[in-house]
Each structure stands twice: as structure tokens, then as C-alpha cells.
């Protein structure tokens, strides 16, 4: 188990390194930082001066190593637009995105696990078909369109929830639903498929032969085994959630990392952009690592080798 965790950790570090390089070079190669810093309509001399002062005239590789070194020491530079240290900016926004990620993941699991279990236990019944219909329609709705429908319904028609901002829990309701519903169908299908497979396993027959009630057979003996692949999917879906948070946070002006990413991109705020891309990616790498370890821990065949 420990060897496995160490191996996964090593891979995670390598991936993080690769991501940092890509984040840096991709942004530097697709645009000129000096022009971005100087702002629109700047004179050529000013741009040249900026290039020199910021050290942007040196080879990219040198700049990358320097940037990486500074980033590793926690010095993320200063935002061009907000004029504040990027680290403070990011630390300020990170909790919001983590809360949103967790609530929307929780929402997705809360909807999809019961629905998936029901669909599997009553496979091919109307419940199963209803669950499938919800999943198929859910997957077809673009999240920004769904978010606007939510706004129309809850804020404009019912006047229950605030349209935008991030001051209270009420501001998180719609973003949570908008972000969570999109990953729920994948979970539901996986739970359903896993439960159908597990329910026909020999050990389920053993459990029934012991005279255990249906609830114990389904929830203790079947669901536990069906959930193992769900944990693995959770990591992948968290990636979708992080990406989706850019869109959803922007729509609801929820002041998190996703919104910051959007702002930094529209303002061509290089230092912030690089760090946010890196941070969201590293966050994903960490979550995958966590999910893998949890997965191994859930499966005694891996845990107790």
C-alpha cells in the first residue's frame, strides 16, 4: 500500500512539473507578455522598455526556470490588473472554489447514487427508464444555458435566490446545482451498471441465503462493491467540475478561482493566468491522487496485499 502511494505520488509530481511547463510555454508562445503589460495602444519604445525591465528579452527556458523557482518558493508575482500579489489573490479565492466543488460534487452524488441504485434494483422498469431519461436530458443541457434557466426560475420568477455574488450560502445554491447536475448522469450510469453487475454476483446470493433483509443485501453487500469504480470516476469528474467552475462562477459572479481565471484571461493578466492554470491543474492532480489512494483503500484486495 505504501509503495503504491509513493509510486502514485512520484507520478503526480512529474505530471505537475509537466503541467507547469505547459502552462508557462503555452501562454508565452500564444501571446506577447510585454504587449499585454504595456496595455493597448502603447508605443513600441515603451514595450521594449518593459521587455527589458521584466526580463522578457531573455530566452524562454531561462524565464521558465526562474518562474518555476519563484513559484515553488511561494512567490507568484504581482497581478498586472489587480496590482496585488498573486498569492494573496489566489488564497482569497481558493476557499470559494473548494466549497463550490465540494457542494456540487455532494449534490451530484446525492442525486445519482439513490437514482442509480433504484434503477439497478428495478432494472428495466419505469423507474429505470425515468432515471435514464433524466440522465440523457441532463447530459444534453449546456451548463451555462441551464444556469440561465435557473436564474430565470429562482431569481426572476420566484425571487428566492440572488442572481450573483458570493456573500451568503444562498449565493451557492444555483452554482452548486448548475455545476453538479452536469456530472450526475455519469455517476448515475456507473452506479447503475455497477449495481446490476454486483447484484448478480455469487456473494449476493450468499448474503440472501443467510436470510439478510433486502436493505442489507443492497446497501451493505452490493453498494459497497459497486461504489469502488465511482470513487475512481470522482477524480475525473472533479476535473470537469474545476473546468466547469470557470463558466459557472463567471455566470454567477461567484468570487472564486474560476471567476479569477476568467478575469485574468480577459485582462490578459499573465502572472495570474499562469498561476491559476497551474493551480487548478495541480488541484486536479492532487484530487486524482487522493481518489486513487481511496480506491486502493476501499478495495481490500489492493489494501491488504
Amino acid at each position: 500500500m505504501i509503495g503504491y502511494v509513493l509510486k502514485r505520488l512520484g507520478l503526480a509530481l512529474l505530471v505537475a512539473l509537466a503541467v507547469s511547463a505547459i502552462a508557462f510555454f503555452l501562454l508565452r508562445l500564444s501571446g506577447d507578455a510585454a504587449t499585454a503589460i504595456a496595455g493597448e495602444g502603447a508605443r513600441q519604445e515603451d514595450i521594449e522598455l518593459i521587455r527589458k525591465t521584466y526580463g522578457l528579452d531573455r530566452p524562454l527556458v531561462v524565464q521558465y526556470v526562474e518562474w518555476l523557482w519563484q513559484t515553488l518558493r511561494g512567490d507568484f508575482g504581482t497581478s498586472l490588473y489587480f496590482k496585488t500579489p498573486v498569492s494573496a489573490l489566489v488564497l482569497d479565492k481558493l476557499p470559494t472554489t473548494i466549497v463550490l466543488g465540494l457542494t456540487s460534487l455532494g449534490f451530484a452524488l446525492l442525486v445519482s447514487i439513490p437514482l442509480g441504485v433504484l434503477a439497478a434494483v428495478y432494472a428495466n422498469s419505469w423507474i429505470d427508464r425515468l432515471a435514464l431519461a433524466i440522465a440523457v436530458v441532463g447530459q444534453a443541457l449546456p451548463n451555462f444555458f441551464f444556469a440561465l434557466i435557473l436564474v430565470m426560475f429562482f431569481s426572476i420568477t420566484l425571487r428566492w435566490l440572488p442572481v450573483s455574488g458570493s456573500d451568503s450560502w444562498a449565493h451557492f445554491v444555483m452554482p452548486t446545482i448548475a455545476l453538479g447536475y452536469y456530472v450526475a448522469p455519469a455517476f448515475m450510469r456507473l452506479v447503475r451498471a455497477g449495481m446490476i453487475e454486483v447484484l448478480s454476483a455469487d456473494y449476493i446470493r450468499t448474503a440472501r441465503a443467510k436470510g439478510l433483509p433486502a436493505r442489507s443485501v443492497i446497501f451493505k453487500h452490493a453498494l459497497r462493491n459497486a461504489l469502488v469504480p465511482v470513487v475512481a470516476l470522482t477524480a475525473v469528474q472533479l476535473g470537469f467540475l474545476l473546468g466547469g467552475s470557470v463558466v459557472v462562477e463567471t455566470i454567477f459572479a461567484l468570487d472564486g478561482l474560476g471567476y479569477l481565471a476568467y478575469q485574468s484571461i480577459t485582462y490578459k493578466d499573465f502572472p495570474v493566468m499562469q498561476v491559476v492554470v497551474l493551480l487548478l491543474s495541480v488541484l486536479y492532480v492532487l484530487l486524482t491522487l487522493l481518489a486513487d489512494v481511496a480506491n486502493a483503500w476501499l478495495d481490500p484486495r489492493i489494501r491488504v496485499a
Binding site: 450468499t206 481490500p300 491488504v304
Partner: protein, 328 residues
């Protein structure tokens, strides 16, 4: 007969199992009847697909989806299971009647420890505390020949060999001290040397605890060693039934005779000599099956076999389903 009623733990009367398939209804078990007395071992023998597994699953109400059972009566300790509700069945299963399956490798839940799975039924049916249940589990693991039982409780199924797992399954089935134990080919999936050990264990436990046992097997050697009575199944029917000695000594049904001829006997079967072979294949059980289902393979078949064969009974308790009144 009525004075014996109390001794009968399981009375199956007119049990049929149908399975819906793409080609039509498969009559896996066709109107079979038999009884098992307390403390007795009945062996159900037959080739693959003769319906012996389906019979055992039907008794336990564990048939897979798509399979349905019908019975005039399915009496367990005098109570008709075919009319009992799911709650009543659950109360009996794992408590008064228990089952051991063919595949020890997959019959245990990989996600839980042996101990967890052992205590489950005992705690449920006996309302026992965890400590009591674990004590009972350790006791039974010792009884089925597992050393350092206490340690085993914390292990997972994948850490145990097939033979050990089957011992755990046996201990699990015995947790509540059942009246009836159904063992569906409990040794088929194991190595030959382990097979003998497990069978001996089952036979010893059965005798010691006085449990009635239905042992399903295709191995006549096993039958001869541990059965009190034998029921031979062919194509979903019991074609012959009787006390073990009588049935082996004087098989009345041509199929039983054929099966017995297939067993090599040390000393009697010459090396290189021919073993008996039953020619032909089992008929399809999909759709209507008329007449004697063995007639296509039977050396004694005649026209009358196209009609349902009569059931004969001998005074020694042997009965057979054939137009022949005496041994073939």
C-alpha cells in the same frame, strides 16, 4: 407414514422450475418430489444441466431472475415454503436452512472480512452481541479445521485459498445450527486432494451435529461414500430414487445403470479395459417434453417409451420411472 411425519424435515412435492429463454420456456425441473428426514443425507446426482442446482436454489428461494418455481407443496419442518412470504423465508434462511455453493472463490464478499461475514447471520437471527457472535465464529472455524481462527476473522477472502474459503462457507452455514444444509457441488471447484478433505469434513459434521443434508453432486464415488439415500436426476426429472446400498446394488433405471458403469472400480476395471459410456446427448428441455426423456439414448427403448413412463416402487423404498419393471 403419519408417525414418520415429524421426522421429515424437507418434503418436496411436485416442484417445477421454468426458465424464460429466447427460444421459449426451458423446463429445467419437471414435477419432482422427494423427502429428506432429519439427520439424513440425500444426494441429488446427475449430469450437468439435469436441474439439480435449480432444485436446490428453488428450495432456498434463490432462483436467478427469469426462473420461476411452482410446487404443490414445499414443506420445511411441516411449513409450506411455497406459500410463505419473503419475510418468513428470510427468517428461515441462514437460520434453520443454510446453503453452501459451488464457487468458494466468488461466494464470499471481497469487501468485508471473514469475521464480518461470519457473524452477520448469527447476529441477525439470534439477536446476539458482536462478542457472542465472534466467539461462535471462532468455535466453528475451529470445528471446520481452520487453525488460528481468531486471526482469520480479520482477514479478507482474497487472503484465503479456495479450500479455506469453502471451510469458511461451511462454518458460515453452520453458524445458527441449521436443521437442513444444502450443499451444491461444494467440492467441484477445488483441487482433488482438497475435495476429499472437504467432503469428509461435511460428512463428519453432518453426523456429529445431526443435520439433514442435501448434497448435490455429479460424482457417484462421493455418493457411495456419504449418502443415506440417492435421487438420480435426468433432464429435470428424478428417474430413480432409493437407499444408497439398494440403488448401487440393484440399479433399476437404465440411466442409473449407465452412470454406475461409468465409474472405474479399482481391481475390477482392467487397465485399458472399456468403461461404460452413455451414447447420445441430453434432449432439449425447451418447450413441451413428452414421454421418457432418456429414450433416445436408451438401449431398451421401445415404442411405449413415447408415453410418460410409469413410476414403480419396490418394497425396499427404491422407486424408478421407467416402463421396465425390473433391473435392466
Amino acid at each position: 407414514m403419519s408417525s414418520l411425519q415429524n421426522d421429515v424435515i424437507l418434503a418436496v412435492d411436485g416442484l417445477s422450475v421454468d426458465i424464460a429463454t429466447q427460444r421459449g420456456t426451458l423446463h429445467a425441473v419437471r414435477d419432482i418430489s422427494f423427502e429428506v428426514k432429519r439427520g439424513e443425507t440425500l444426494c441429488l446426482v446427475g449430469e450437468s444441466g439435469c436441474g439439480k442446482s435449480m432444485t436446490s436454489l428453488a428450495i432456498m428461494d434463490l432462483l436467478p431472475k427469469g426462473a420461476t418455481r411452482r410446487a404443490r407443496r414445499l414443506a420445511f419442518a411441516g411449513e409450506d415454503l411455497s406459500r410463505a412470504g419473503a419475510r418468513r423465508i428470510n427468517a428461515l434462511r441462514g437460520d434453520r436452512m443454510a446453503m453452501i455453493f459451488q464457487e468458494p472463490m466468488t461466494a464470499l464478499n471481497p469487501a468485508y472480512t471473514i469475521g464480518n461475514q461470519l457473524v452477520e447471520a448469527y447476529r441477525l437471527h439470534r439477536k446476539a452481541s458482536e462478542a457472542e457472535a465472534r466467539e461462535r465464529a471462532v468455535h466453528l472455524l475451529g470445528k471446520v479445521g481452520i487453525a488460528s481462527a481468531g486471526e482469520r476473522l480479520g482477514q479478507y477472502p482474497h487472503q484465503l485459498s479456495g479450500g479455506l474459503r469453502q471451510r469458511v462457507m461451511i462454518a458460515m452455514a453452520l453458524m445458527c445450527g441449521p436443521d437442513l444444509l444444502i450443499a451444491d457441488e461444494p467440492t467441484t471447484a477445488l483441487d482433488v486432494t482438497i475435495q476429499a478433505q472437504i467432503l469428509r469434513l461435511l460428512a463428519d459434521l453432518q453426523r456429529e451435529l445431526g443435520i439433514a443434508m442435501v448434497l448435490i453432486t455429479h460424482d457417484l464415488g462421493v455418493v457411495a461414500r456419504i449418502a443415506d439415500r440417492v435421487a438420480v436426476m435426468y433432464a429435470g426429472q428424478i428417474v430413480e430414487e432409493g437407499p444408497t446400498a439398494a440403488l448401487f446394488g440393484n440399479p433399476r433405471h437404465p440411466y442409473t445403470r449407465g452412470l454406475i458403469d461409468c465409474i472405474p472400480v479399482p481391481g475390477r476395471t482392467q487397465p485399458g479395459g472399456k468403461l461404460g459410456v452413455i451414447p447420445g446427448v441430453v434432449p432439449s428441455l425447451v418447450g413441451d417434453v413428452r414421454g421418457c426423456s432418456f429414450r433416445d439414448r436408451c438401449a431398451f427403448a421401445r415404442e411405449a417409451c413415447a408415453a410418460a413412463p410409469p413410476v414403480h416402487r419396490a418394497p425396499d423404498g427404491q422407486s424408478w420411472r421407467c416402463i421396465l419393471e425390473n433391473a435392466a
